[in-house]
């Protein structure tokens, strides 16, 4: 936890320090070609002004629990028992906590085209409870499973298909095409499991940091503005078209985010979002489970799972979150955002841990380059003799 926060503050400081020198170039020019206000937590939602960088760092915290199957909550204790019985396991989690530090850089090459790159560092903790047998064997009620590491690296291009105005568009439609690179680990192993022989075996799916595959990203974003209100709809599909080095792939993923923002002050706004997320089940067990028996009783691949976390069918589902928060501009070219989100509907392939709530803090800074309008101003029109 301390390590994650330290990394977040270091990245934040590096960002602020690095960008200060270009700020003196700011000529005091407003241009809203990018469409104005937009949420920072929706990938691809916002882009910088032309010939400007936008550097963003964010810190997320998410709590997951209790278990859920379909739309019904399931208690952890009801899942513990003799694993030969249907739906019973040696060990099951009661809660998961996830900290994620994210960093992204975007640059707009033209009024229509921007390129974005993003990655993150994740730290996961999952409180695990033992059945009576494991309790007796280890002398403890459970343990906290941990993993951490870099997540996948994504590159996305955003191309504006339509805008109704070249100064401050009130309606605009953009297409997103990108690729997620498998920089996140899919081979994270147990380090502190008190059950003999389990350490150094593969951790379950959700403790891994990435998908392990090159995943195409396709999306459409629509923004509309009626000052002081801003609205938008983002739809993003992440394809899982190939198997990773462990011989499986994550489920297909679709996200639709709708948002409304109200700018009540020149430097502050309130926002509300509805975030729809659908994810398919994992395609298969990892090779380490199928061939080495990780996650199975007695390390026998044919034996039942020791925990629901190892079953690839117990992942994915559909959920709808409601998110609310605010953005504030402490200085020119810099914005901070605080958001809190909780699901209002969750229909999960389970039993699996449901999402409880999450909190997100984001900071971004815009960095005009020497080619930016905000560095040199706009060009005087030759049509008027300049």
């Amino acid at each position: 936890m301390k390590r994650v926060l330290s990394i977040f503050f270091l990245v934040l400081n590096l960002t602020v320090w690095f960008v200060q020198s270009p700020v003196e170039a700011y000529v005091g020019l407003c241009c809203a070609h990018c469409g104005g206000n937009m949420p920072m937590n929706i990938p691809g939602g916002g882009i910088p002004e032309t010939h400007e960088f936008r550097v963003k760092v964010g810190q997320n915290y998410m709590r997951m629990g209790p278990f859920r199957s379909g739309t019904t909550d399931v208690s952890t204790t009801s899942l513990l028992g003799v694993p030969t019985q249907d739906g019973k396991f040696v060990v099951a989690p009661s809660e998961m906590r996830m900290w994620m530090t994210m960093a992204s850089v975007a640059y707009s090459f033209t009024d229509r085209f921007a390129l974005m790159a993003m990655t993150g560092y994740r730290y996961n903790e999952m409180d695990m409870e033992f059945n009576a047998l494991a309790n007796a064997a280890t002398g403890s009620n459970g343990f906290t499973m941990k993993s951490d590491g870099m997540s996948d690296f994504k590159v996305m291009g955003k191309y504006r298909l339509f805008a109704d105005d070249d100064l401050a568009p009130t309606n605009q439609l953009s297409a997103i095409v990108g690729l997620s690179f498998p920089t996140g680990e899919v081979d994270s192993r147990f380090r502190n499991n008190p059950i003999p022989g389990v350490n150094d075996t593969l951790q379950p799916f959700r403790m891994q940091q990435g998908s392990g595959t090159y995943d195409p990203i396709l999306g459409l974003t629509f923004q509309t503005a009626k000052d002081p209100y801003w609205f938008g709809l983002n739809a993003i599909y992440t394809g899982r078209w190939m198997d990773n080095e462990q011989g499986y792939h994550q489920g297909q993923e679709a996200k639709v985010d709708a948002y409304a923002m109200y700018q009540f002050h020149p430097k502050a706004l309130l926002e509300i979002q509805l975030n729809f997320h659908h994810e398919g089940q994992y395609s298969n067990e990892p090779d380490a489970q199928r061939f080495e028996g990780a996650g199975h009783v007695g390390f026998n691949p044919a034996a039942p799972f020791t925990s629901p976390l190892f079953n690839p069918d117990f992942y994915g589902g559909t959920k709808l979150n409601i998110t609310g928060g605010f953005q504030y501009q402490p200085f020119d070219l810099q914005i901070v955002e605080l958001l809190v989100s909780t699901p209002i509907v969750q229909n999960l392939h389970g039993p699996q841990l449901s999402e409880d709530w999450r909190i997100m803090f984001n900071y971004y800074v815009e960095i005009p380059t020497k080619k930016s309008r905000r560095y040199v101003g706009t060009k005087a029109p030759k049509e008027l003799g300049f």
């Binding site: 330290s6 400081n13 020019l29 002081p228 020149p266």
Partner: protein
């Protein structure tokens, strides 16, 4: 307890940040004091327009012929625009008796009440014209706000200025005088006026 290296680095960056902020603010104010006027290659007439004032009167640009005009495009959502208004008002207060005119065209599509509030709060007494249909804005090829044009007493375009400026700074007033060479703007050269 040993401080982690990341925390130590963070403290160093915060310290540098605090030290550097004043110098950046200073650099920015100097930059905006320089008017950075782009002069025309070919002298052309300023496109005429007819727009409504806040009290519903229709005003044409050509009504101001015979006076040098600073034509400014702005919007209530543009913070940089609002920041330069007090300086513009001070400039106007000192030069209006010499026949100098400022016209500020708001390109807000709505929010008339917000414009009225702003004008009242800042004590603006030069004409504010409304361009909700964006016609004048398009005729003047506005691609960022604020943008200002300098128009001489014959109605010809003499300068283009992109971005906010410290209009009442002595350097700005000298730059204006240089553009409006043929106009008597005695107070422009008086550095005592601020």
């Amino acid at each position: 307890m040993k401080t982690p290296w990341v925390s130590r680095l963070s403290i160093i960056f915060i310290a540098i940040y605090i030290v550097l902020i004043p110098s950046f603010i200073w650099a920015q104010s100097e930059f905006s004091a320089n008017l950075g006027i782009v002069e025309p290659r070919t002298i052309k007439q300023a496109p005429d327009f007819a727009l409504q004032t806040l009290d519903g009167q229709t005003v044409k640009l050509s009504d101001f012929k015979g006076k040098p005009v600073l034509l400014n495009f702005w919007a209530t959502w543009c913070e940089a625009c609002k920041k330069e208004f007090p300086a513009m008002q001070r400039l106007y207060s000192h030069l209006k008796d010499d026949g100098f005119e400022i016209i500020a065209v708001s390109v807000d599509r709505r929010n008339r009440d917000r414009i009225e509030e702003f004008v009242k709060a800042y004590g603006i007494d030069f004409p504010i014209l409304l361009d909700p249909q964006q016609k004048a804005r398009r005729d003047y090829f506005i691609r960022g706000l604020p943008t200002s044009y300098l128009i001489d007493s014959a109605g010809d375009l003499r300068g283009f200025i992109s971005g906010a400026r410290a209009w009442d700074h002595i350097a700005s007033r000298k730059a204006l005088l240089n553009i409006f060479k043929n106009v008597r703007l005695s107070k422009v050269t008086n550095p005592a006026i601020k």
